[in-house]
């Protein structure tokens, strides 16, 4: 991945920065330039809380080449407590534990390394919150 494509998204991928529409209050991750709900163009940036719950899930058993070292791995759509939804890997989970409503926390993890030089891409994965 070109370095600029990684680093220009650091505020979101490293710090979970989202944007809340100043008119209708809906929160977006990643930030947008225009609100699709009310067409307002001003937002306030905030860092999302790291907690949320799984709203759907699957286990990827035949990934694209870049993720082949991880297979099989769990992926879910997570609804953050702040509102936005993300598609993320679910790590440290037994596949039979996957269920809608599963509470999770986003943790900063290595996503994959690429190329001969092994440049590492970081991002967030969801991990179940165990009582």
């Amino acid at each position: 991945m070109p370095p600029a494509r990684s680093w220009r998204a650091y505020p979101q991928t490293y710090r979970l920065e989202a944007a809340r529409c100043t008119k209708c209050g809906k929160a977006f991750y990643p930030p947008r330039l225009v609100c699709p709900e009310c067409h307002n163009r001003t937002f306030e940036t905030f860092a999302m809380k790291r907690t949320g719950k799984v709203v759907s899930h699957t286990v990827i058993r035949t990934p694209a080449s870049a993720f082949s070292a991880l297979q099989p791995f769990a992926v879910g759509i997570v609804e953050m407590d702040d509102g936005p939804r993300l598609t993320v890997q679910i790590a440290d989970v037994k596949f039979e534990e996957l269920k809608i409503g599963l509470p999770v926390r986003l943790e900063f993890r290595r996503i994959f390394s690429e190329g001969e030089s092994g440049v590492i891409q970081y991002g967030h994965k969801a991990v179940p919150i165990r009582q």
């Binding site: 035949t62 870049a66 598609t87």
Partner: protein, 384 residues
């Protein structure tokens, strides 16, 4: 706006066509369509192709295909809208004729997918998702539709067997289509016990990787008598988008973009879902056919699974779906799929569908979509 008719169709057998190139398979099908219509000169051409740049290291397909089709200097356009590229090429060809700017227009589609590895093909297809905000999770297209399936099962009680019944039915239909990639009878148990791809979807829930092309010829409806065959009229065209990322949709168990496109096509056609005799729909995965059959109004939300299992969508059922074998059995060369649906509609409406021919085929509907439903096309065709 002029009324528009389809006057010719062409499609060769689909499959793993190692000995043929992208241009070979497109030109063969385009020539069949031109011969079927009895034309040798086009006014314009629209070619649906999702990713020749990745699959064949070739962009600028419109020039290449016009050149190799022997249509010197015609205006040609390559259309990309992921797996809906063919459906959108058909809509643009319809608009070109309807507007009066062109008379004889070819709408085609092509994808040559087997020259790259399975991992590369999976990557090429994944670019139809939001590569940054979905793709970085490693989710695949089977994975996105699997998450729709999990949501649909939780919301409506849709079962594993109901999903499997879609694949069984489409493979049964494909047995009667000489151009289908697979001629393979399968059972519910075969689907349920096949290799897992993205839980709960197995390999027999998924459409395959395919090489293939298809083409149709359109002209103004009042010119039809000049050509060889009876025309079929395009009475409705609907096109809509939805969020690129599945996760940004409030209801993961619905396809709102498909519903919007369908509403526009039904309105233009002056038809209701119950007036449609049969449909070709985008069954890239079994769950897709279930949700689409609900979005098109053939079943209430949540009833698509039980309807499929009860045989309501089989050839002898209330609303036959995918008499061609669908993407599942006929194959899914992504850019060609939307055009192949129009080929099947036209052959059924002309009474030329051979062993697949339906007794009642006067109004047919084609639904094609891209990504996880981020683009949707619906067309309604009627006998003239």
């Amino acid at each position: 706006m002029r009324d528009v008719a389809v006057i010719g169709v062409g499609m060769q057998k689909w499959g793993e066509l190692w000995e043929k190139s992208t241009r070979d398979i497109f030109v063969e099908s385009a020539l069949l369509a031109m011969d079927d219509a009895g034309v040798d000169r086009l006014d314009a051409m629209y070619v649906g192709s999702m990713s020749p740049g990745i699959f064949a290291s070739q962009e600028h397909l419109e020039s290449l295909m016009a050149d190799y089709l022997g249509q010197k200097h015609i205006p040609a356009t390559r259309v990309e809208s992921a797996c809906a590229s063919g459906g959108l090429a058909f809509r643009l060809a319809w608009l070109a004729v309807s507007s009066g700017i062109s008379d004889v227009v070819l709408a085609g589609g092509v994808e040559k997918m087997t020259d790259v590895s399975g991992g590369q093909a999976t990557h090429a297809l994944a670019t139809a998702a939001d590569m940054k905000w979905e793709g970085m999770s490693g989710v695949t297209f089977p994975g996105l539709y699997a998450m729709m399936a999990v949501a649909h099962m939780a919301k409506y009680g849709t079962t594993r067997r109901q999903l499997a019944s879609v694949a069984v039915k489409n493979h049964d239909n494909g047995l009667l289509n000489p151009r289908a990639q697979f001629h393979l009878k399968i059972s519910i148990d075969d689907v349920i016990n096949s290799v897992k791809v993205a839980d709960p979807l197995n390999i027999l829930d998924c459409s395959p990787i395919t090489d293939g092309a298809a083409a149709v010829i359109l002209c103004p409806a009042d010119h039809v008598k000049k050509f060889k065959k009876p025309g079929v009229k395009v009475i409705g065209s609907g096109h809509a988008t939805d969020t690129i990322a599945l996760h940004d949709r409030a209801d993961l168990a619905a396809l709102k973009g498909v519903g919007e496109a369908a509403a526009r096509a039904y309105k233009m056609a002056g038809k209701k879902p119950e007036q449609i005799d049969f449909a070709e729909v985008h069954d890239c995965f079994t769950i897709a056919e279930v949700i689409v059959s609900e979005a098109l109004g053939f079943f209430p939300a949540g009833k698509g699974g039980p309807g499929a299992e009860a045989g309501e969508t089989a050839r002898g059922g209330r609303i036959p779906i995918n008499t061609s074998g669908g993407l599942k059995s006929k194959g899914h060369p992504v850019g060609a799929t939307g055009i192949a649906q129009i080929v099947e509609l036209t052959e059924q409406l002309r009474g030329e569908a051979g062993e697949r021919q339906l007794k009642k085929a006067r109004v047919g509907l084609a639904q094609n979509m891209g990504g996880s439903g981020g683009t949707a096309l619906v067309h309604i065709l009627e006998v003239m």
